[in-house]
């Protein structure tokens, strides 16, 4: 019987079936960062346990680091304490840390693929829900909590139930000015923020096939916003071309042998899925969220829906969203005034994202009332962008060019919304309070749309600016 990538990777990593009926699943790559690990290391110390496979564990600093002055000690003593713990724990347990001095620091989900740590056929876990990102190369990658981080450190395993599998096909072709971010925001709009609960998503179809690796990373990144704990794309030539030559990828003849093996990992023709959903790629336009969940979105030419248009049990959330955002049902999303523009995050902080935003930035200057930040996803992304002169384009247009980190995606560093500020953001969550202000507001969109909003001072249609 034809098998899926999920079937094959799951089986290869199954250590045994646990008494509970769950699978004891081996984790091939464990990525860690400063926020969700100090408690796990303490639990390990309390239990006098070692890290089971230190050679399969890699760390970075991303969530709390400032994006202006990154010299230590950090101005925020709480952030400094977390960094201090990270350095100390990594040293004590003999684990590699990609800190600032290595030139390889960055958001954990940007550096994993970038360094070639992330490879097809792997199982990957990290104490961060956006670990799904790594599925873009054909891996099973998911977020875990801190007590599970302890389990992976101590046993290199997790107790997991195999999810059902839904193939999400994006057919046709995307229109100009429509990006990978619009595709995933639209998938979440159609299938719902809890539509993926209990499922893994296999993204497929012509639109996904034609995507670059960075675009696939953006799509897989937001699987969790659609309720799916992980999502993946089958490895293909795009995957192999992306990985060739990367530091931790197999080198030379070993790379060719790896490709031969990776080809065997992909879902086989005729494999069956628990569910298949198809989205028409050609019907997607630039998408903007208007509410307080990533599923509350509209095409940029559309208006904010009425609560009555939603299923009855969703209506209270719609009303809460309209009230929090200070929007009226029926109001066009285009023209909604913004105060802050943020390009960055593990969703859209890669080189191609910065290039797309820079194309738009060339067309104007940041509106006077807007504070605009460009935060590269990693030191390497920053370096490559600077080599192309993107930082100069941004600066000339009035954007701030920052250093790598998670930044305003979640506001754990000084990059936060203030009060009721409205942000046009290339990040992944528009939850109330997400960007650091309890009353702040977030509109999610693609990096190009963020740049368009920055120079317009309000939500704009990037297609009109690029035309």
């Amino acid at each position: 019987m034809a098998r899926t990538l999920l079937d094959k990777v799951w089986e290869a990593h199954t250590v045994r079936t646990l008494p509970s009926g769950q699978t004891q699943l081996l984790i091939g790559l464990h990525l860690i960062h400063e926020v969700t690990t100090p408690q796990a290391f303490q639990m390990l110390k309390d239990a006098k346990l070692k890290v089971r496979m230190p050679e399969r564990t890699f760390g970075t600093l991303d969530h709390i680091i400032p994006t202006t002055d990154q010299t230590r000690p950090y101005a925020d003593p709480l952030a400094e304490e977390m960094a201090e713990h990270m350095f100390r724990n990594m040293k004590e347990f003999g684990l590699p840390l990609f800190d600032m001095a290595t030139g390889k620091q960055g958001i954990v989900h940007v550096i994993g693929p970038e360094l070639g740590l992330t490879q097809p056929g792997m199982t990957i876990a990290c104490g961060d829900s956006h670990t799904a990102t790594h599925g873009a190369v054909g891996a099973i990658a998911f977020g875990i909590g801190t007590t599970q981080v302890r389990d992976v450190l101590a046993t290199q395993c997790l107790a997991m139930a195999k999810p059902k599998l839904r193939q999400v096909r994006v057919d046709g072709a995307l229109a100009p000015g429509v990006y990978a971010k619009d595709v995933i925001l639209w998938i979440i709009n159609v299938l719902g923020v809890k539509g993926g609960v209990g499922y893994a998503y296999e993204y497929a179809g012509p639109v996904i096939d034609r995507m670059t690796m960075e675009e696939r990373l953006t799509v897989c990144n937001m699987s969790i916003e659609g309720g799916a704990r992980f999502g993946y794309v089958n490895p293909d030539q795009t995957t192999y071309d992306y990985l060739r030559g990367r530091q931790y990828a197999p080198q030379g003849a070993a790379f060719d042998r790896a490709v031969a093996q990776w080809k065997t990992v992909a879902t086989e023709p005729g494999a069956s899925f628990d569910d298949v959903k198809t989205i028409a790629g050609g019907s997607i336009e630039p998408v903007v969220t208007w509410g307080i969940t990533p599923g509350m979105s509209v095409g940029v030419s559309q208006s904010i829906p009425t609560p009555e248009s939603a299923p009855e049990d969703e209506r209270p959330t719609y009303r809460e969203a309209l009230s929090h955002m200070d929007f009226k049902a029926g109001q066009p999303i285009k023209g909604a005034k913004i105060d802050v523009a943020f390009v960055g995050s593990c969703t859209n902080g890669r080189l191609s994202d910065l290039r797309a935003a820079a194309e738009v930035a060339k067309k104007g200057k940041v509106a006077k009332h807007v504070r605009a930040l460009i935060v590269p996803g990693s030191q390497q992304v920053a370096k490559e962008a600077e080599a192309e002169g993107l930082h100069e384009i941004f600066r000339q247009a009035g954007f701030e060019w920052r250093k790598a980190g998670c930044s305003m995606c979640l506001g754990m560093n000084p990059d936060q919304l203030v009060g009721r500020e409205m942000s046009a953001s290339s990040s992944n969550r528009n939850f109330i309070g997400r960007q650091g202000s309890p009353t702040g507001r977030t509109l999610l969109m693609s990096p190009a749309m963020v740049a368009a909003a920055a120079i317009t001072g309000a939500v704009a249609d990037v297609r009109e600016i690029l035309r």
Partner: protein, 201 residues
Amino acid sequence: MSSSNATYARKQIAGRGIPVTGNDIDTDRIIPARFLKEVTFANMGEHAFEDAKKANPEHPFNSPAYKGASVLVVGQNFGCGSSREHAPQALMRWGIRAIVGGSFGEIFFGNCVMLGIPCLRVSQADLEWLQKEISRSPQTPLSVDVEKQEVRFGDRVIKATVPDGPRNQLVNGQWDSTAVLLEAGDRIEATAKKLPYVSGY
């Protein structure tokens, strides 16, 4: 860290209820990111729903009527979003021992199991009834039976579900999983060695 153990078994939890209404309540809402800048979970209980409490004086976590409640009753997709274990840690340290709801974010659900907090699913009609009745009568005893998959409020027994795996873990006291996973011994390394990316291409 324990294996099968009577003190870890989570068969029944009895107490009083506290309703938090609404769907898609994410873990940023349960505990905003700016409170995660701590290297222990010790103080997380103080920050449970902190911004929501400030924004809404009527928030149930502000109400003296629910002081000492241990069973949280929520809507659909509760705990979606960020994987932060700080969210269930905050609820647990506030006093929550079990959660009853329509559905749960998967990572949140798993984190709760790891802390021995059962999350039970009930129908939309039942959760609405429960939330209404609890707010009408906060002192009425509310209990959950993980083994029988039931929620009892006053005289009424409501059908609930917990998937087999987590239910077995909770009922048998095997939710604290490190010891269970370690029992696999060198089968862990044996599985790793068979993987081409571990053994070398």
